[in-house]
Each structure stands twice: as C-alpha cells, then as structure tokens.
C-alpha cells in the first residue's frame, strides 16, 4: 500500500482540489438556526429593475420575517439578485431547475411558463404547495385574462405580477402641424397610412414607427407583427396550429412594405442594434409622429422626471390610441381594435424543501399591501383589481390600458418553439422593409415554420 508520505504531490493536489470543489459546489444555503427561503428575480439594486430589488430587500423581507416571528417561527429570507439580459436569466433559471437547485420563489416572464412546465421544471402551484393555494384570497382580485399569464394547459403554475398593453402613441404637436386632430383614433390601417402621409407632407422625418426586423427582437413581434396579425384576423397560434403564409400574414407584410418603402418609416432604424432605444429618443425629440409601444413607454421612457427619454410636456403633448384592425370588424374575434399583452409571474420551485412556507411567502408578495408597496410610487397595471382601482385613477393613460385595452388584448403562446417562430416572423418583416416582395418573404417564413413545427401544424 502506498503510504500518504509517498503519494505524489500532483495526485495529492488533485484529490484535495476534488474535495474542495465538491464542497464549493454544494450550493448550500446560509447557515441559520431557523428556516431559510430564497427568492430570485432579474433585478439588482442600482441596476436592472432596481425598484424591484430594493422593494424585495427593504420592504418584503423584513415584513415577512417579522410576520413569521409574530407567528412564532424563525424564518430567514435571502434575495438572490441578477442583472442580466432576459435570455441569460432564462438560461440560468432553467439550468438551476434542471439540476434540482434554485430559489424557492422564482420570477419568470409569463411567456416562459409553458416551456418550463413542458420541461418539468415547474409544477402547478397546488401540486407543490397543497390546498392552501386554492384558498388564497387574491384569486378573486385577479381578472381571468391576467391569471392566464401563469396558466398552461388549464393548470395554474404561477401568480401574475401584472400586465401591460400595446397602443399607438402619437405626438400631438406634430399632428397639429399636419392638420390632424388632437383626439385621434384610427379605425383601419388605411387611416394609419393617411395620417402618416399627412405627417410626411408636414415635414416630419419619421411619420410612423412600427417595429420591424430582428435587431429589435421580441419588440418587433409584440409591438408590430403580432398586433397587426391580430388586426388581420389571425393569431400566431390557434387551435394547435401556427399561422403560416396565410392571407392575414401577407396583409401584415404588405402593410410593412407600404410603410417602409414609401418613406413613412425609417427602414435603417429597424436594422440598428440599439434601434429601439433610438426610436424612444427620436419620439421624445419630436422626430417620430406615431409609435406603437407598450405602456412601459409611457411610464418608464417618456416619463417627465425619471424616464430614459423624458418629455417634460408628456401629458399635454403625447396622445394614445387603440391599434385598429385592418378594417372595422376584421380583427381577431371580429374586433375593431386589437392589442398584445405580456407580463411576469412568480412560481414556486417544485424542489423547495419548505414548499408550504414558500407559498406563504409567494402569497404575501402578492397581497394588496405588498403589491402596492412594490409600485414604489409608480403607476403600473398590477394583477390585482383592488390595487389598480386605487393606483391607476390618477393616470389616465394606464386607466385607458386597463379599461379599454385589456378587454380586447391577446397573449403569446407559452410554448418552447415560440421564440424561434417569433424570430422567423421578425425576419419576414425585415425582408419586406428592405425591398423583398411580400409573397417571397411569406414563402420563406412558411418554409422556416415547416422546418420548426412540421407541415401538419401550420394553418394557411
């Protein structure tokens, strides 16, 4: 037998390192006498979603720990911050859950719920935390459509944090110069093009900005292609089939063609890596007439004091209108107006060692008091009607979204293949904005769709 003394140094070092690495990789929670729960989100103080990180650390954790202490329990909550691109965050969370680790309560984009459920990373809330889930008071406060953010195949996997809606923002000052009304509401795509033509005639550099191309990523789908598709009477995914090179899709691409090949839109802006950020600045600078965006644009971009492209006269100079269908009544479900919505949810880790307590924390996070505190003074559409009634009443724009847009909105399908189909759609819009004929772009999209889902899963 080789004695320890004669064990060669490299082997000894390897053994030591192996032991050390194994110890480091255990991912153990901080040592505590009581129970420790962990919460994670793509939020970090002083960086991305700073307000959420601050609320979690300064409001949520102390209050929850205090409430547990009052109930005679020693509970510690640890926040795991992140400040990365959403795709990187998604990858990290997927890998955490895949390896059986991860936080007890996890923030997810609602669009990821389906694919995480399919992968077996998350389970229905009641399956993880038991019957207490169904007894929660908050369910009655969440509208069915918003609750759908956390639902996949009829089962509830997460609690929605809130939602949003897409509208057409327009610059009233430029409208006045073009002889257009201050209270503008287009009723068809032709109305939109006519307004664009009038703005162009009045010397507005970019009359219309409907996001296009792959550089803007999901913003192209959510603010452009998908609401337009809904306006043409089709959904990207319905009855188990994806929309291929249908007439509705060709109509959408034709509208893009008309906007971007006739000088109504700036095709180059759609190609830039930071094109969306530039579109924000150009709107704030009075160089864009009409911009299709989510309410995020109103409350975080052109917000007069803290926006990234603030407009001091926002409330007076910026109008907003519903996105019209191609023609009145031609929209999905026979609607005159359409929109798209998204939103974040919070889920429980099925591997949580304290699932019941994790549910208590999750329910606490979604109480009226916590939801209101999480707004940190900012008006935003939360998932709770009781909170919305209180916080939106002083913000007509967000009330408009809550009252007028959400009833007619649509949501993306939460399926794993969706991001690739979304990219294919973005590529189709890119092609027509740079001069490719509509039929050719639609055919190329359809071909790509077939390679992704197979011919039998496509409707035309």
């Amino acid at each position: 037998m080789t004695s320890a003394r004669t064990l060669p140094l490299p082997a000894a070092v390897t053994v030591s390192l192996t032991v050390l690495l194994a110890a480091c990789g255990s991912g153990a929670s901080p040592v505590t006498d009581g129970t420790t729960l962990t919460v994670t989100a793509n939020a970090i103080s002083g960086g991305k979603n700073s307000a959420t990180a601050d609320w979690t650390a300064k409001w949520l954790i102390p209050r929850f720990e205090q409430a547990q202490k009052a109930a005679g329990r020693d509970v510690r909550v640890v926040f795991q911050p992140n400040g990365v691109d959403d795709e990187e965050y998604k990858t990290k969370i997927a890998l955490d859950l895949r390896s059986g680790t991860g936080a007890d309560v996890i923030d997810l984009d609602g669009i990821w719920v389906g694919e995480f459920a399919q992968a077996g990373y998350i389970e229905p809330l009641s399956g993880t935390a038991g019957p207490a889930v169904d007894r929660w008071e908050g369910w009655t406060r969440i509208p069915r459509a918003v609750r759908g953010l956390g639902v996949f195949e009829g089962r509830t996997y997460g609690l929605p944090q809130g939602t949003d809606g897409r509208v057409l923002f327009y610059n009233k000052t430029l409208f006045a110069r073009a002889g257009l009304p201050a209270a503008w509401q287009p009723r068809s795509w032709q109305d939109l093009l006519d307004a664009g033509a009038a703005l162009k005639k009045a010397g507005v550099p970019t009359p219309l900005q409907i996001n296009a191309g792959t550089a803007m990523g999901e913003a192209t789908s959510m603010q452009g292609a998908l609401p337009l598709l809904a306006g043409a009477g089709a959904e990207i995914y319905a009855n188990g089939k994806w929309t291929g090179a249908s007439q509705a899709l060709k109509d959408v691409l034709d509208l893009y063609r008309r906007i971007y090949t006739t000088g109504l839109g700036d095709p180059r802006l759609q190609q830039e890596a930071k094109g969306r950020d530039k579109s924000f600045q150009e709107f704030a600078d009075g160089r864009i007439g009409v911009l299709a965006e989510g309410d995020y644009f109103w409350r975080s971009v052109i917000e007069p004091t803290a926006g990234v492209a603030p407009m001091k006269d926002r409330d007076r100079a910026v109008g907003y209108a519903l996105i019209p269908a191609e023609r009145p009544g031609a929209g999905v479900r026979g609607q005159d107006f359409v929109s798209m919505s998204g939103g974040a949810v919070r889920v429980l880790n099925p591997r949580s060692e304290n699932a019941a307590l994790a549910w208590e924390l999750l329910a606490f996070m979604h109480s009226a008091e916590a939801t209101k505190a999480g707004l940190a003074g900012e008006a935003r559409i939360t998932s709770r009607t009781d909170v919305n009634d209180e916080v939106l009443k002083d913000d007509p724009m967000l009330s408009f979204v809550s009252d007028r847009v959400l009833p007619l909105t649509a949501y993306r399908p939460g399926l794993a293949v969706y991001p690739q189909i979304s990219t294919a759609l973005q590529q189709a819009t890119a092609a027509v904005t740079t001069g490719t004929p509509v039929d050719e772009a639609a055919t190329a999209y359809d071909r790509q769709l077939q390679s992704l889902v197979g011919p039998s899963a496509i409707s035309r």
């Binding site: 082997a11 795709e87 992968a119 530039k278 590529q427």
Partner: protein, 321 residues
C-alpha cells in the same frame, strides 16, 4: 539547431532499468520497479483526470447532444429524442450557417492574419530600438485596448461609430454616416484589430530581441531595403513565433464573441460570425442539440487549422518556445 526540451529524465532511466531488472531480479529490485511505476502513475493520473473531466467528457457529451433534439426548455428538455445526423444535415444545408462561416473567414483573415499580425509586427519593428520611455508609452497605450473589459471596449466603439452622435462622424464631418449599418464587417474587423494588436506586438517585440542587431546591420550595409531585411534576415529567425501567433490569434478570432456587443450580428445577419450564430440558435433559440452539432463542426474546423499549423511548424523547424 532543434530543441530537445523533453529529453530523457532520471525517472525515465530509473523506470527503464527497473523494468529490465524486474524480470529475474531480486525482490529489492522488483520493489523498486513497482514503486517507480506507482510513482509514475501518480504523476500521470492528475493530468488524465483533468483532461478527461474537462476536455474528453465534454467533447463526447457534445457529440452525443449533437445527435439529439435536446433543448433548454419544452418537451425536448424533459425527453430529448435521438435524431441521428439531422442536426448536422440541417446545419450543413443552412444558408445562414454558410454565410456565418464566410463572414468568419473574412473576420479571421481581416482582423487576425492581416490586421493584428501585420500591425503588431509593424509596431514592434518600429519600436524595437526606440528609447525606453517612448517605447513604454506607445506599448502602454496599445496594451490598454487589450486589457480593457470587452464590454467597455464595445461600448466605446458604439459611441465612436454611432450614426447620430458618433465621435467619428463629428471628426470627419460626415453627419449621419452609418458605419455600423453600411459596413458592419469592416467595423468589427477594425475594432478587433484595435483591440487585439497588443498581443502580436508584444510577441513580436520579444521575438525581435532574438535577432542579432549585427545581422541587420550587415544586411543594411550590403544595401538591403527594410523589406529585404525583414524577409531575409528577420522572418527566418522568428518563423516559430509567427506561426504560434498566427495560430493563437486565428483561433481566438474564430471563436471571438465580442463583436456581438457592437452589432449583435446585424444588420440582418450581415455580421453574424459563427459564435454569434451558435449563440442565437443554441441559447436564444434554446436548441442545445442543434447548437452542439454546429459547435462540433466548428471544433473540426479549428482542429484542422491547428493540425495544419503543427504540420507547417514541424516542416519549418519547430515552434516558438
């Protein structure tokens, strides 16, 4: 003269003699032989473990993933199916992949082989007999680009090349010139030359110190031009360094992802080099099986490049130490 960096060691002699004596040797000799073998194995095991764990296993795993439809999320994450060579067939038939290979070839040739190596040598040549302070300042400035975090450098270049508020347009009085949109590949090639020249400069700077000044002086007195001095006197003496540098910077550039932060592969794929393509399909699209197949194809390309280099190096008399 050829180097023999790894000549026979005392341990080799000990093992050899132990083996020859072990057949009919005394128990003492047999013990010694056994001890020698155990000791040798002890020295080899760590390397085998490290290479096995960190190189061989991941490579085999990548090959396995490449024949499945394994995905980051969705049904294929829970239950990946074997798809044979479908991923490879799709990649080899994918026009986007072909385009990314062609763009990568331009990126490597333009920014590594010509740009970094050429400029790095030129700077090293000019600085070789400059006074210390001048040399240190210039080297320091060039080195700065290399040691800055890539995200910082990328941000600087976006600020430099932006069409609306870019410094370059202000300097050239070309308002609205969209360098990143109209010349995306040229933009990232110049960026990569700027960022990576320091390595070549330092390597060639060290190599040039091995060239005796008297040889250059002799060539100069014989009427040789600068070009002839470099071609006939310098290059034969630093061939190993040149080949090593070419291999390293080519592989680094082939696998470089920094340009993503400037153009994100755009506009519309016109600067989508292979690593950006893989990132987009594997991570953004979540198709890990397909991404693994493409990565394996890229590994083969890198392997061929490395083998070609080694073969060239052997035929030309060794590599840089």
């Amino acid at each position: 003269m050829r180097n023999e960096p790894f000549g026979p060691t005392t341990e080799d002699h000990r093992l050899k003699s132990a083996r020859t004596r072990a057949s009919g040797a005394s128990p003492i000799n047999a013990d010694a032989a056994g001890l020698g073998i155990r000791r040798a194995v002890g020295f080899v095991v760590p390397a085998v473990v490290v290479v096995g764990v960190f190189l061989v296993f991941p490579a085999l795993w990548t090959i396995y993933l490449g024949v499945t439809d394994f995905a980051l999320t969705g049904i294929s994450a829970a239950d990946p199916r074997t798809v044979g060579v479908d991923n490879y067939a799709e990649a080899l038939g994918d026009e986007r992949f072909h385009a990314s290979l062609w763009l990568t070839a331009q990126y490597v040739a333009g920014s590594a082989v010509i740009g970094q190596a050429g400029l790095g040598f030129a700077v090293a040549w000019v600085l070789r007999d400059r006074p210390g302070p001048v040399k240190r300042v210039v080297e320091g400035l060039i080195l700065l680009a290399w040691i800055l975090p890539s995200s910082v450098v990328a941000f600087l270049w976006i600020a430099l090349l932006d069409r609306d508020a870019g410094t370059l347009n202000a300097l050239l009085h070309t308002p609205g010139a969209a360098w990143l949109l109209d010349h995306p590949m040229a933009s990232i090639i110049v960026f990569n030359v700027w960022r990576g020249t320091a390595f070549s400069m330092m390597l060639y700077g060290a190599a040039l110190e091995n060239v005796p000044p008297s040889h250059l002086e002799t060539a100069r007195l014989a009427g040789a031009s600068t070009f002839q001095q470099i071609r006939d006197v310098v290059l034969p003496r630093i061939r190993g360094h040149v080949l090593t540098n070419m291999l390293l910077i080519s592989l680094w550039t082939f696998n470089d992802f920094t340009s993503f932060q400037i153009t994100a592969g755009g506009p519309e794929g016109r600067s989508e080099i292979v690593p950006v393509y893989i990132y987009d399909v594997a991570l953004r699209g979540g198709r890990l099986g397909f991404g693994a197949a493409v990565s394996f194809l890229v590994l083969l390309v890198n392997l061929v490049a490395a083998l070609l280099y080694l073969r060239t190096a052997r035929s030309r008399g060794g590599v840089a130490a």
